[in-house]
């Protein structure tokens, strides 16, 4: 009997006595026999083992994420609005810091309108209240000059 033949017979539930002769002279097959015996015990004991628990990741409450998203959106909105205002904020304080004179010709009517629409109110809102803004408007008549003081 060869070792492979003996191995299969040892592993069979209905092993016959013919393997005994081989086992007497084969240490390798005797070791396998012992291994098979221990495996059989281990396999049968697996049946009663408790199964491992499933590790489910703990869900964090959604509220902090919503709050964080809302905060991020609010910051983005503020940043966007700040970037829209920046040119005014940058230019107007300079005009105000040193009492500036804005000159606008009223000769063509649209120009006069344009001069009037120089957003002085925004300047007042963004600028320090210390100095007034002086707007000088020229008219077609060289003797008539209109000054507009913006608080």
């Amino acid at each position: 009997m060869t070792c492979p033949e003996c191995e299969l017979l040892l592993a069979d539930d209905e092993a016959d006595a013919s393997v005994e002769d081989h086992l007497h002279g084969c240490a390798k097959c005797r070791a396998l026999q012992e291994e098979l015996r221990e495996n059989a015990l281990a396999l049968s004991s697996l049946r009663d083992d408790e199964l491992p628990r499933v590790r489910t990741p703990k869900r964090r409450p959604a509220i902090p994420w919503i709050a964080a998203a809302a905060a991020a959106a609010l910051l983005a909105l503020i940043a966007h609005q700040a970037s829209q205002r920046r040119p005014i904020v940058e230019t107007l304080p300079r005009q105000v810091a040193a009492p500036a004179t804005v000159t606008a010709k009223l000769a063509p009517a649209p120009a006069a309108k344009l001069a009037v629409r120089s957003k002085p109110k925004r300047a007042r809102r963004n600028a320090p209240v210390a100095e007034p803004l002086l707007v000088k408007m020229l008219t077609p008549d060289p003797d008539v000059v209109v000054y507009w003081i913006v608080d």
Binding site: L8, D12, L32, E38, S44, L51
Partner: protein, 175 residues
């Protein structure tokens, strides 16, 4: 069973069929989940398989004849084999690989041996793995195993013998 709960679909339980179904689930839930776990090697996969098994049970309540336990074993094996085939193939054990000499000083503890056997099971061909799980772990007879798998008893014996030798060599090679 202390493992994660098995989530089952909600069925109407007021009917007689619903009560039968509930009774079968209660009686065999552990067996189905345990067998699926040994066949698949992972609890989450086993839970998915168990849900599929009980879904099939519900659909076939009226048509299921004979022993529900054998029917559940058979469906569990089929579901797990389908599941196993969809996964990445694993390298099978080479029967004819040189048998490494075991370290006589190295004694494998029972827990270690169980872990190695589970690892080794995953490397076995489907028929051998299923036969070992049903016969050696679940403790079914060769005849019961053969009936569940739909093969002759001699075939089961052959599969089991081959699988046991492979597992023994697998465990020994890792001592």
């Amino acid at each position: 069973m202390t493992a994660g709960e098995l989530t089952l679909p909600i069925f109407p339980t007021e009917s007689a069929g619903g009560r039968v179904f509930e009774g079968l689930v209660a009686a065999h839930e552990r067996m189905v989940l345990r067998t699926a776990y040994r066949l698949l090697g992972g609890l989450e996969d086993a839970q998915d398989a168990a849900q599929e098994v009980f879904l099939r049970l519900f659909r076939n309540l009226g048509r299921m004849g004979g022993d529900p336990k054998a029917w559940l074993y058979r469906v569990t094996v089929n579901v797990c084999n389908d599941h196993h085939r969809r996964r990445m193939p694993v390298a099978e054990l080479d029967e004819h690989r040189a048998d490494p000499a075991p370290d006589p000083e190295r004694a494998v503890t029972l827990d270690e041996r169980k872990r190695l056997l589970m690892d080794g099971l995953a490397t076995l061909p489907e028929r051998e793995r299923t036969s070992v799980v049903l016969r050696d772990i679940e403790g079914l007879s060769t005849a019961e195993t053969a009936a569940i798998l739909g093969v002759e008893e001699g075939t089961v014996r052959s599969h089991i013998s081959t699988a046991r030798v492979k597992l023994a060599k697998y465990v020994r090679s890792r001592q």
